[in-house]
């Protein structure tokens, strides 16, 4: 490669974990990187743990991107799986790059993208939750909108 990648990066690139999509996901985060053109989609399935806390029960990704983009996607899914939503949201780009034993400076934006995609997936889940809890209201608004 033109860049120095750690063994951990190459492992995650060559044998990515949690690659694919989740049918009927509870949240999806889609992000495109305007800098380099990479695209990352993160799907999550949310469930309650024994203590009643919401956790990421399953997570998968699809990525159009370089070695680092695929490796960071694979890593974020591993870091987030089983974590509470609160914990998952706090995963930083630094956590990702450290778990990958470092990324070339020019590729740091890839880890940024991965943490942003996960945050978007969680936000999407929370939005869906809000909508379903106020479902009737939502329908009314839509109805009025149509009459108008």
């Amino acid at each position: 490669m033109s860049l120095e990648y750690s063994k951990k990066v190459m492992q995650n690139f060559l044998y990515p974990k949690n690659m694919g999509e989740i049918k009927n996901p509870d949240g999806v985060g889609k992000i495109g990187n305007p800098v380099c053109g990479d695209i990352m989609w993160v799907y999550i399935k949310v469930a309650n743990d024994k203590k009643g806390k919401k956790i990421i029960k399953d997570i998968k990704f699809k990525t159009f991107g370089c070695v680092a983009a695929i490796a960071t996607s694979s890593m974020i899914t591993q870091l987030a799986k089983g974590k509470t939503l609160e914990e998952a949201e706090k995963i930083t780009k630094k956590d990702i790059s450290e778990s990958l034993k470092g990324l070339p400076a020019i590729k740091m934006h890839c880890s940024n993208m991965a943490s942003a995609a996960l945050k978007l997936a969680i936000e999407d889940y929370e939005e869906r939750e809000k909508r379903s809890s106020s479902n009737t209201k939502g329908t009314q608004v839509l109805f009025i909108f149509f009459i108008f």
């Binding site: 490669m1 033109s2 860049l3 190459m10 690139f13 060559l14 990515p16 690659m19 694919g20 889609k30 800098v35 380099c36 053109g37 990479d38 695209i39 990352m40 989609w41 699809k62 990525t63 159009f64 991107g65 370089c66 070695v67 680092a68 983009a69 695929i70 020019i106």
Partner: protein, 378 residues
């Protein structure tokens, strides 16, 4: 582990015969070609013999060959040297030049040069009418790359040379990729300056040459002891120059024919993979160049998987460039950033075998399939 080198546009393996020819010039015939004594003269003889070989290969006189440190220096020397020695200020070039031409031009713009960057068509060819129209009475030189390093397009030097002659402007070409692969003749093609280099033709790195037609007014880039007829000071890199000349000597047209066959096999078979696109032309293409965009997958990632299989390639993707911008050449032929990011360049050499090509063709479809499964794009 296999090691298949498909990045010969970046650099090439030094030919065994070249290396053998060079070796005595390190510890035995190590004299300075400027020294008057026997040791120096021994080096001087080798230097002049090499100059003759290189001059002959492009139909030039020995006295018109100036050795440099390589393609980048020759291109810098040509444009900066002409601009500094001319009252005119216009340089005409193209959008698909190597960075060392484009960045030299950008720098010259800060020094008062006016530069026109010509568009190219979808296959990378310069439009001759446009080129002729862009020449003004301020034009010093037309500088057009002969064989493009990314997409392999070979420009019609003879036709451009005719225009330059008619319009009475100088004509420079960067022939780093085409040298020994496509015929170059400074008379037939009316060339005034030609950039040549060694490490793309199985010679050593750090050596190249600039052909400068007799009588051309040019300022040196390096000032010093007055080597190379006062135009390029610096003790001559005799071992490198001897190797460079040997590399020219051992090049054969049979190698070109062999590479064309392998190149076309690669292109035909890769195009059978769904949703791929050949970048650059089918005809008038460098014998060693294949450049393909694979929709919905990223070039560096393809390269990464290929490397895992022992195959070394290159990409025009933004992901590997330090500026994070996709290749300017692919942009100039109309590729979207996504298509550029999906490009893979495979450049073979005279050493490439049928087996290597077959192995590559065997592993490539699976890699593309896997990356397309990872990709969210459909």
């Amino acid at each position: 582990m296999k090691s298949i080198y498909f990045d010969n546009a970046a650099t090439t393996k030094v030919d065994d015969k070249v290396l053998e020819t060079m070796l005595p010039y390190f510890a035995e015939k190590y004299g300075n070609a400027s020294s008057q004594h026997l040791k120096g003269q021994e080096a001087k003889i080798a230097l002049e013999k090499s100059r003759k070989i290189i001059a002959k290969s492009i139909g030039a006189k020995s006295s018109e060959i100036y050795f440099t440190s390589g393609g980048t220096e020759s291109n810098n020397f040509a444009l900066k040297g002409l601009f500094s020695n001319n009252k005119k200020n216009h340089i005409l070039t193209t959008k698909i030049e190597h960075d060392c031409i484009l960045n030299t031009c950008k720098w010259l713009e800060t020094k008062g040069a006016k530069v026109t960057y010509l568009d190219v068509d979808k296959e990378g060819f310069v439009n001759l009418n446009e080129l002729e129209r862009a020449i003004t009475d301020k034009t010093i030189v037309v500088s057009v790359i002969h064989g493009n390093n990314e997409i392999g397009t070979i420009q019609n030097l003879e036709a451009i040379g005719k225009i330059c002659k008619k319009k009475n402007v100088l004509f420079h070409t960067d022939a780093c990729q085409s040298f020994t692969k496509v015929p170059i003749n400074v008379e037939k093609q009316n060339l005034d300056l030609v950039t040549l280099n060694s490490h793309k033709i199985h010679g050593p790195k750090g050596v190249g040459a600039l052909y400068i037609r007799e009588g051309t007014k040019i300022t040196p880039l390096l000032h010093g002891g007055g080597h190379e007829r006062k135009l390029r000071s610096s003790t001559e890199n005799v071992s490198g120059i001897v190797g460079f000349a040997k590399a020219v000597k051992v090049s054969k047209s049979e190698y070109v024919d062999k590479m064309i066959k392998l190149r076309d096999k690669l292109i035909d078979r890769i195009l059978k993979i769904p949703n791929v696109k050949l970048n650059g032309p089918k005809e008038n293409r460098l014998c060693n160049n294949v450049n393909i965009s694979f929709n919905n997958v990223e070039g560096e990632a393809v390269g990464g998987y290929l490397e895992q299989k022992g195959i070394f390639t290159s990409t025009g993707s933004a992901c590997i460039s330090h500026s994070l911008e996709p290749s300017h050449v692919l942009k100039a032929i109309g590729l979207s950033p996504a298509q550029s990011n999906s490009s893979l360049r495979i450049t073979i050499s005279k050493y490439t075998t049928d087996d290597e090509v077959d192995y590559f063709l065997k592993v490539l479809p699976g890699i593309i399939k896997k990356l397309r499964r990872i990709s969210p794009l459909k």
